[in-house]
């Protein structure tokens, strides 16, 4: 594959599970500063695409290039080191640690065995943790055990755990699931703020929310791209209306 100017360039990506092609020769390009939302009916392969990018699932063929670096051959933690962060669909936080500790554990230093033994939470780490906590609206909850947070706050915390690593590609799987209206608004504002200087890839079902954040929308259907463009174009696409929005 040739090198490109895109932050993320996915070309001819295919993964098949026992003959079933969950993702079928997919091409997707993402620019810097871009916030892309991927939508599609259940089973369209949205989450699988994220799994493929972050290395949770190995592709059958095709390439994923992140800043012209091939990701398909790397181990999960190497992909993270390259600058890719991923939030899971159900909030994945360490419930038995405090909010502060959750963020501290995610701070990108002391990632080796001995590095973690020698790790010191110094001024720099502390101020970064507080900065991120402010970003994700949790500055007053730093000492709280994270199991006690509301569902929406847990979603924010996981986003914060990614932000503290300063990823250049941020992937969010249904970030507003289970959030109140007020929380959705705050999250939209948060996402619009954090897509500066990086690329963000979001999977979302809530169309109202998608409209608020998306620069461009990609519609997936049966592992293939059905339509791509701004919200307006996609919403008026007859194919999309038929398989997805029409229901």
């Amino acid at each position: 594959m040739s090198n490109t100017d895109f932050t993320l360039a996915i070309e001819d990506l295919t993964v098949s599970f026992d003959g079933f092609k969950a993702v079928d020769s997919l091409n997707l390009y993402l620019d810097k500063d871009e916030l892309r939302v991927v939508i599609g009916p259940n089973g369209a392969g949205k989450t699988t695409v994220l799994d493929l990018i972050c290395g949770k699932t190995k592709s059958t063929s095709g390439s994923i290039k992140f800043k012209n670096k091939e990701l398909t051959k790397l181990a999960e933690h190497e992909i993270v080191h390259a600058g890719v962060g991923r939030k899971f669909q159900t909030p994945s936080i360490y419930e038995n640690l405090s909010v502060y500790d959750n963020l501290e554990v995610s701070f990108p230093r002391g990632r080796s065995v001995f590095g973690s033994l020698a790790f010191k939470c110094d001024e720099e780490v502390d101020s970064r943790i507080r900065e991120v906590a402010k970003d994700i609206f949790l500055e007053e909850f730093l000492e709280m055990e994270s199991a006690l947070l509301s569902h929406g706050q847990k979603q924010w915390l996981e986003i914060g755990m990614l932000l503290i690593q300063e990823p250049e590609l941020l992937m969010l799987d249904e970030p507003v699931a289970g959030m109140s209206v007020k929380e959705r608004e705050l999250t939209a504002e948060l996402l619009n703020r954090i897509c500066m200087g990086r690329s963000v890839l979001v999977i979302e079902h809530d169309m109202e929310f998608v409209e608020k954040i998306a620069h461009k929308v990609t519609v997936l259907h049966q592992g293939k791209i059905l339509a791509e463009g701004d919200m307006q174009t996609v919403q008026n696409d007859p194919n999309v209306i038929e398989v997805y929005l029409g229901h």
Binding site: K56, V80, I93, P108, S112, S116, M161
Partner: protein
């Protein structure tokens, strides 16, 4: 100073807990018990090493090993091999057909010391081997399992099978290992008789200090970022992996450390009890170690030491009177702990400890002492003001 107090001693509560345990082990028990009983306590405390290692591995790491006996045994056997060679000098074994080799080898028609026994002539090598042999073995097991993401129940079963295999191997290779009887008749350590009374006291205290050293080492590990990562991995392994950590390396490391800690216990066992046999390697002792940790509280480094002592005293008492009942009782105890107090003795203490401590604090004598100290302090302050 802060580092020592906050991290190693675990703040005020941790330091008090450690001090109480130290007073019990280093002062109360040696004064209260006769040498025979004290030697028994020493033996129990060697199991406590394995229990402490399970706090790291099982309590914090969430990795249940049913094979800690393997490492306890390997450490013990390394030490026993050295002591056996020292006890088998040509003078002492001149009635054998091949003098100068351990007696059981002679009985099995071996005429030469096997190659892997030879380095154990050296005490320095032996000490290294006690630490390194189990760690390397743990590394091989850990590497081949954790890199393939084998975990949970499968890991527990495989470690249990390894314990079984090692027992069978030791029993089967009588000529090299002493078979089912183990390595017995150990007498001296570099010429120092380990069987007489004074050396039993000395070994007891060496063992106790090593145990405290190990507890401090574990505190250091658990209070570092590594400790929080262990908890994080237990809870959400994928989140840790996708936060840029190579999870398997962390598991391999903690498995090796826990193997090393158990092995130190094994070596001290051999020194204090004077022999080592496959009955401390296999499935039963390995599971017993898990029970010690469960009863004491698998999240508490101090609690598991009490757990080990309590269960073993119980075992000794009951098996003296009702030998057949003990195994059933032990099983029932394990079930009861898991079902009704999953955090063990340490959990009970956390829940009900205040009910014991507060009345003591409020006792007349204590409060009057406090009052006395306070008034003296005030008087002093007054004096310095004037």
């Amino acid at each position: 100073m802060n580092f020592v107090f906050d991290r190693l001693l675990g703040g005020k509560n941790g330091a008090i807990g450690l001090a109480v345990l130290a007073a019990l082990i280093l002062i109360v028990l040696p004064l209260a018990l006769d040498l025979f009983r004290l030697n028994l306590v020493g033996k129990y405390l060697t199991y406590a090493f394995a229990a402490v290692s399970l706090v790291l591995l099982w309590g914090y790491g969430g990795i249940l090993s049913l094979g800690q006996g393997v490492f306890f045994g390997l450490g013990g056997y390394c030490m026993a091999m050295f002591l056996k060679l020292e006890a088998s000098d040509p003078e002492a074994t001149k009635i054998q057909s091949t003098p100068g080799i351990p007696d059981f080898m002679d009985w099995n028609q071996l005429t030469q010391l096997p190659w892997f026994w030879e380095p154990f002539e050296s005490f320095g090598f032996t000490l290294l081997a006690v630490i390194l042999v189990p760690s390397i073995f743990a590394f091989i097991i850990g590497y081949s399992m954790f890199k393939r993401r084998v975990g949970g129940v499968y890991f527990a079963i495989i470690t249990q099978i390894i314990a079984l295999i090692l027992t069978v191997l030791i029993v089967g290779q009588q000529g090299y290992t002493g078979g089912i009887n183990g390595i017995t008749d150990l007498k001296t350590l570099n010429g120092w008789d380990i069987r007489d009374d004074s050396s039993k006291y000395i070994l007891y205290f060496i063992n106790a200090f090593l145990l405290f050293g190990v507890i401090l080492l574990c505190r250091f590990i658990l209070t570092s970022k590594f400790g929080r990562l262990l908890l994080a991995m237990r809870d959400k392994e994928d989140r840790v992996r996708f936060s840029g950590y190579d999870v398997s390396n962390f598991k391999i490391f903690i498995f090796c450390i826990s193997a090393m800690i158990s092995a130190i216990g094994g070596a001290m066992f051999t020194l204090q009890v004077g022999f080592m046999s496959p009955s401390f390697v296999g499935i039963v002792p390995s599971i017993e170690m898990v029970i010690f940790a469960a009863v004491g509280g698998r999240m508490s480094l101090i609690g598991v030491v009490y757990g080990t002592l309590v269960v073993n005293f119980g075992k000794t008492m009951f098996s003296e009177t009702f030998p057949e009942l003990w195994l059933y009782l032990m099983g029932a105890l394990f079930i009861a702990v898991v079902m009704y107090f999953p955090n063990g003795l340490a959990g009970l203490w956390e829940k009900y400890g205040d009910k014991i401590v507060v009345p003591i604090k409020n006792m007349k004598i204590i409060s009057s002492i406090k009052l006395m100290i306070e008034s003296k302090r005030l008087a002093k302050a007054k004096a310095s003001n004037e």
